[in-house]
Point group: C2
Chain length 132, copies 2
């Protein structure tokens, strides 16, 4: 057991704006995109700060991080859900899917502890599929 040293966080304009930008974004933006949107509110904000704040909001459970093509994207929806990624237009869409209880149970019976589950479906969205 190591002592948990907690330093008291401060509220800054930057944190409020980055959080708000993610809240208002339903397109799973990258850090760069969050940065661009945040700049509209606070032109002096820096990309490094955006990265730092995003990286802090995730473990606090305020936003979710999903990784697509080795790149982080951020999602205001923290409840359990999954994603569909269109290989053509790159659109990322939320997907509801039942949890795979059978598989989880089997792993747990082996002594495993499951903390996170991530499903990704890749393919073509309706529009791209129609375009063929």
């Amino acid at each position: 057991m190591k002592t948990i040293e907690r330093k008291k966080k401060r509220n800054t304009k930057q944190k409020a704006i980055v959080f708000q930008v993610v809240q208002d974004s339903h397109d799973h933006p990258t850090a760069e995109t969050v940065y661009e949107r945040a700049k509209r509110e606070l032109p002096t904000i820096s990309l490094g700060t955006v990265y730092r704040i995003l990286k802090e909001l995730v473990p606090e459970g305020k936003i979710r991080e999903i990784i697509v093509n080795k790149q982080s994207r951020f999602d205001p929806k923290t409840e359990f859900h999954h994603h569909f990624i269109c290989k053509k237009c790159g659109k990322i869409e939320d997907v509801k899917t039942p949890l795979c209880r059978y598989t989880c149970k089997k792993l747990e019976q082996k002594g495993y502890i499951i903390e996170e589950i991530e499903y990704k479906f890749y393919g073509l969205c309706d529009k791209c599929a129609a375009e063929n």
Copy 2:
């Protein structure tokens, strides 16, 4: 429709060795690890070449690529299966799980085409869970 220009591939020592290394690896090695193992057979092989060959074997269906922590890893098992990733020791383990037909059907009814499905389970493996 664009013409598919195919240039005839050649067989080289490097390709054979990289393929063989992945075939013999059951620990989901990174490109760097494949490189180290390949060097034991062919000390002059370069990392760039390993990357190029791995990137070519994947679409050919000869090996599979899985991405963990934004890093590519390679798997000789090409049949449909998923992965468990231990957050503590980093071990990656194969997981069999039934395909989520219900979710796929729902997406397909919306006009989506599903080409790939990827499930990842994160947590602690039996050993790390026991150590607490």
